[in-house]
């Protein structure tokens, strides 16, 4: 019986031992090779001290090592924490501390960059480094194990799994409307349900060759890896900067499936996709924000043999809705309907179901509802609540996920996005907390008041605009502030626009009046 994430690998290795499992550049590993490497690595992780439920971070660019790490940590009984490599050292350090990370897998170069930020109060006990490295990282006294040696080690004796499907498998860090990123906890059952459901409606089979352009720290990116390994397909990894690199990979690797966020599609639509044909490309999926209609038009023109699925999901519930390709002409702006084995409710303030056309909050029920936020029961209780529609006799047996997204449903049950209930900003698929941006603005020491809001952007969905008030009498150099931000946050968080004000608008209770700032922008 398959009930843990690495059981999917085991099963595919039994069905297709010699088949290509993972491809990155010139490196091609079969399912048997992946399975063997993961067994060795898992064995070595346990020997190095990883116990059941221990968190192990993965801070790697797209690479074979990244895939091996995920399945090895699962095999060892640990919890994998994929960290997006666009994050800066301070943010990585937050994740390390927040989840009490025991080990971190990274490259020697990245380790050198991270070491100063990880010096104080780090729960880490050891590093695993890819490539060539000596026994210790600069500025760190922790041992550094070589991944190459761990992958090649022999495994003695019988292997025993420790966990069950309800155990924590992964933590994905994501931002909300306030504070620092929170860790969304996914069980083995969550991740496997997600890949079964998505494989069902995308009809993913062992013939699939999926190009992974989204990071595995995104639920949609991780889901691509899981569906490929569950079905015995092939995952092709790529680190891209240019549209041409994606196009070349689509053609030379005979890619059949591609998932992207709107920025990826804009890049492709403006990057010569119309000059090629893609007979192998069976489907594409969009998530992480609405696809601009102009971009969708170019894609439909270029990808005549390809089914286009528009999807919606939030990390807290993994995946939620999709628009079947045949509905694209009739409802191009819809988010679609619930994915299989999932029910999407639109609830009003009173907790009742909205009538068609009435705006309410999207509430998700189904097997991909996450376990909540790591170490943060208050925040968890705000998002995961008892299903208000269950008969009282059932008690509080089921938690549903309140998305914070305002939507409406048409008479045929199709959903349409309206906006956010809170102040969270979303840019190029990333969730951005305004308070995290504001905290960094305050760190410049030059600002007395700051407020960040999202303003519409054709390609990115939203970009960040910051309203700032200088400390008394100081002249504010916005170029300096922006340069400071570039040091302290990833590019998607950095405000594109600044406005210097003498005072921010306030509510009667003395808080920043965000709606007034949005009205200034005509929003």
């Amino acid at each position: 019986m398959d009930f843990l994430i690495h059981h999917m690998l085991r099963r595919s290795a039994a069905r297709f031992p010699e088949k290509e499992a993972v491809v990155h550049g010139n490196r091609r590993l079969s399912y048997t090779q992946v399975l063997q490497a993961c067994r060795s690595f898992a064995f070595q992780l346990r020997s190095a001290g990883i116990a059941r439920g221990d968190r192990v971070g993965i801070y790697l660019d797209p690479s074979v090592e990244q895939v091996l790490s995920i399945f090895s940590i699962s095999t060892a009984g640990g919890v994998y924490v994929p960290i997006n490599t666009v994050l800066v050292p301070d943010q990585v350090a937050h994740i390390v501390r927040d989840c009490g990370m025991k080990a971190l897998i990274t490259t020697p170069e990245k380790l050198e960059t991270l070491a100063p930020a990880l010096r104080d109060a780090s729960p880490l006990q050891f590093f695993v480094a890819t490539g060539n490295t000596n026994g210790h990282a600069a500025e760190s006294t922790l041992p550094v194990h070589r991944m190459q040696e761990m992958l090649a080690a022999s495994v003695d004796g019988d292997w025993q799994d420790w966990g069950i499907s309800q155990d924590l498998a992964a933590i994905l860090y994501t931002s909300g409307s306030t504070g620092k990123p929170k860790g969304v906890m996914l069980s083995h059952a969550n991740v496997m349900a997600g890949s079964t459901i998505v494989s069902t409606y995308l009809e993913i089979s062992e013939r699939e060759r999926i190009l992974a352009v989204l990071p595995f720290s995104f639920d949609a990116g991780m889901n691509q890896l899981m569906t490929a390994f569950q079905q015995g397909g092939t995952i092709v990894l790529i680190k891209f900067v240019f549209a041409k690199q994606i196009i070349d990979a689509l053609l030379t690797e005979h890619i059949t499936g591609l998932a992207g966020v709107p920025t990826v599609w804009s890049l492709l639509a403006n990057g010569g996709i119309l000059k090629h044909s893609f007979p192998d490309l069976r489907y594409i999926t969009n998530t992480g924000g609405a696809m601009p209609q102009a971009v969708l038009k170019v894609l439909r023109q270029a990808l005549t043999a390809t089914k286009i699925f528009l999807m919606y999901g939030l990390t807290e519930a993994f995946r939620s809705t999709y628009l079947p390709p045949e509905e694209l002409d009739r409802r191009p702006t819809s988010m679609g309907k619930a994915i299989p084995d999932t029910e999407i409710l639109v609830l009003n303030e009173a907790g009742g179901c909205c009538k068609s056309g009435e705006v309410g909050e999207l509430v998700h029920r189904g097997p991909t509802v996450s376990m909540g936020y790591w170490g943060n029961p208050e925040a968890t209780n705000r998002v995961l609540k008892p299903n208000p529609l269950l008969p009282p006799e059932l008690g509080n047996c089921e938690k549903v996920c309140y998305s914070g997204d305002l939507v409406k449903m048409d008479e045929d049950g199709f959903l349409y996005y309206v906006g956010r209930r809170d102040a969270m900003i979303k840019s190029s698929g990333y969730r951005i907390s305004p308070t995290e941006v504001e905290e960094i603005l305050f760190q410049t020491g030059k600002i007395r008041q700051a407020a960040a809001i999202g303003i519409p952007d054709e390609v990115l969905g939203q970009t960040v605009k910051a309203f700032v008030v200088a400390k008394d009498g100081a002249d504010l150099d916005c170029d300096y502030i922006q340069a400071y931000c570039l040091e302290k946050m990833p590019r998607h968080m950095v405000p594109k626009h600044f406005e210097i004000m003498s005072e921010l608008p306030k509510t009667s209770s003395g808080k920043v009046d965000y709606p007034a700032l949005r009205r200034r922008e005509g929003l």
């Binding site: 170069e109 240019f242 570039l486 040091e487």
Partner: protein, 97 residues
């Protein structure tokens, strides 16, 4: 004529200034003309768009879809060479018009 065609080293130093100013990782690593900016993650897909904007505005060249390749943008030296080729070809097409 030819005064608008920047000398290669001058162009390279202007591109380097822009790269250092725009990409914090470039400052941290103190990148040289030959440093691979793509492999080291200094420039991502969004960063390329900033660079294209800079080259178009600063040197009055047009950057086409087909120009957006790793070969043209891998390093400061690569960008300077690409810029030089583009300036020369634009200059020729103006001269022959």
């Amino acid at each position: 004529m030819g005064t608008s065609v920047a000398t290669n080293s001058n162009a390279a130093s202007r591109i380097r200034d822009f790269v250092l100013q725009t990409f914090p990782l470039a400052r941290k690593r103190n990148v040289a003309g030959s440093t691979d900016l793509l492999e080291t993650g200094v420039i991502d897909s969004m960063g390329v768009l900033d660079l294209v904007g800079f080259l178009q505005q600063e040197f009055a060249i047009t950057v086409e879809d087909d120009d957006l390749t790793p070969e043209n943008f891998r390093s400061i030296d690569c960008m300077a060479e690409f810029l030089q080729r583009r300036l020369v070809s634009q200059h020729r097409s103006v001269a022959s018009a």
